[in-house]
């Protein structure tokens, strides 16, 4: 066995020689990105690189290098990060720390927020045809994937919800435009929720800049209360939202 190991190491050596010609900036990027558990954006990386390094080119090269490895360089929320290769999920199951299982209702609400954002609770309910329980929104808020982003300038000033960077990171999306099936949905006109307000815009956006029909949250906003405006805590909600996916 030991001898086999040695043979293999020797086989590898030519590769090492190759990589000595590898630009130093790849080593630096590699080290920075490897070390960090959080995705890093190009600007942050550039700041840490020596002057004159073409960070974008180096990242592209690094991404190509790692494409076939067990660890890939991916772009999420316009930031770069190393992640284990998707096809190795089977291997990684032990690492998985009891991932949250979202209820079917929660998954639907999350999708509606993602594809229709900014969207109010009433609009979510209009699409689903059912009252959203506070618990469902709470669970989603807890994941950190959605956030209240403002208030709609309509009577009652309802909260508008949108997705976060953590959402993009969770689903390995470079940007919101990469949502699966988004183009088809836009094509069918189904994203236009056709609410009487006429405010909805058919293209979802997580741009933190508020839309014309939104106003900012106020510092003292009691989001908790705002989430459950006039809904009974029990019966109708629970009743309408039964089963887990």
């Amino acid at each position: 066995m030991a001898s086999l190991a040695e043979v293999r190491v020797e086989e590898v050596e030519p590769m090492d020689n190759d990589s000595q010609a590898r630009p130093e900036e790849l080593r630096l990027l590699e080290a920075l990105l490897f070390a960090s558990s959080e995705p890093l954006d190009t600007a942050t990386l550039a700041k840490r690189m020596p002057e004159g390094v073409d960070v974008k080119a180096a990242l592209a090269q690094l991404q190509a290098e790692y494409a076939t490895r067990g660890v890939n360089l991916v772009r999420v929320a316009n930031k770069w990060t190393f992640r284990t290769a998707g096809d190795l999920a089977w291997l990684m199951t032990r690492e998985s720390t009891e991932t949250r299982r979202l209820s079917r209702a929660a998954i639907e609400v999350l999708a509606i927020i993602a594809y229709h954002q900014p969207v109010t609770r009433a609009e979510i309910e209009e699409i689903r045809g059912v009252v959203t329980s506070k618990g469902t929104l709470d669970v989603l808020l807890e994941t950190g994937w959605i956030k209240p982003r403002g208030r709609r300038k309509t009577p009652g000033r309802p909260l508008t919800f949108g997705t976060t960077e953590a959402f993009l990171s969770q689903f390995t999306l470079e940007q919101l435009g990469d949502l699966p099936g988004l183009e088809e949905l836009k094509g069918t006109g189904l994203l236009d929720s056709r609410l009487p307000t006429g405010f909805s815009v058919p293209t979802p956006s997580d741009d933190p800049v508020l839309r014309e029909d939104e106003e900012p949250l106020e510092p003292g906003d009691d989001l908790d209360l705002a989430l459950a405006p006039a809904v009974e805590p029990d019966a109708p909600e629970g009743g309408s939202e039964g089963n887990e996916g």
């Binding site: 190393f82 998707g86 999708a111 949502l179 189904l190």
Partner: protein
Amino acid sequence: MTAEILSFETGRPAELGEGEPALVVDVEGYEGPLDLLLALARQQKVDLAKISILALADQYLHFIEAARKIRLELAADYLVMAAWLAFLKSRLLLPEPPSADGPSAEEMATALANRLRRLEAIREAANRLMNRQQLLRDVFPRGEPEAIAEIRHPKYTATLYDLLTAYAAQRQQRVLASVHLARRTVWSLAEARASLERLVGMAESEDWGCLDEYLLRYVADPSQRATVFASSFAAALELVREGQLELNQKEAFAPLYFRKGRHQPAADTVPVPDAPVS
């Protein structure tokens, strides 16, 4: 029904008796009336755009009736939808009124079909979203991140002026302090007597002088007054005994006056502060 569905929320699968109709078994899995409608529409196995809303309304109303026969309660949402569908059905069956306000029956049916399509589309999107590689489920970040260490370099500042001021103040303070402390703490009797003798020697006139006044002039620091006074008084008494000095005090605590002694003292004529001689 409500109760059963709540039990669903706790994750316990609904248990149904063998004899219950399949139709009702299904109702509990639905996320509200729209979901139920969508499921019924699926049974038509046609494009939702071409669905027969009339047939769908019929199916829904049948379903609700069947459900009500067995179950006492249905969530209000389902009943509202039933009522609306019954209304839509009647509108669809009747000829259109000539001057209809609001949407026509056809438009209402299309709107319902669109709602169903939209719900179906978002569900499909949700599925595709959830099937993406998810962080901590399918793909993993660095398990043991290496923190970027923050090294703070304090840059200390101080000017030459700071330095010289500090030095001068420090040295000066120590030097002056040592001078004062050595001289001022105690006035010895010998020092007091020497000073008094000089005072008396200088006092040419035969007038009374105020001892307190002289002493105050000697002692700049008021905190030294007590020790100076005590030593001087003791020295003065000795000088009086030797006949070199006469003391006078009108009453207790009144100022002490002194003048040069005129004659040799007699032990019994020594004035004492308590019994001043006028």
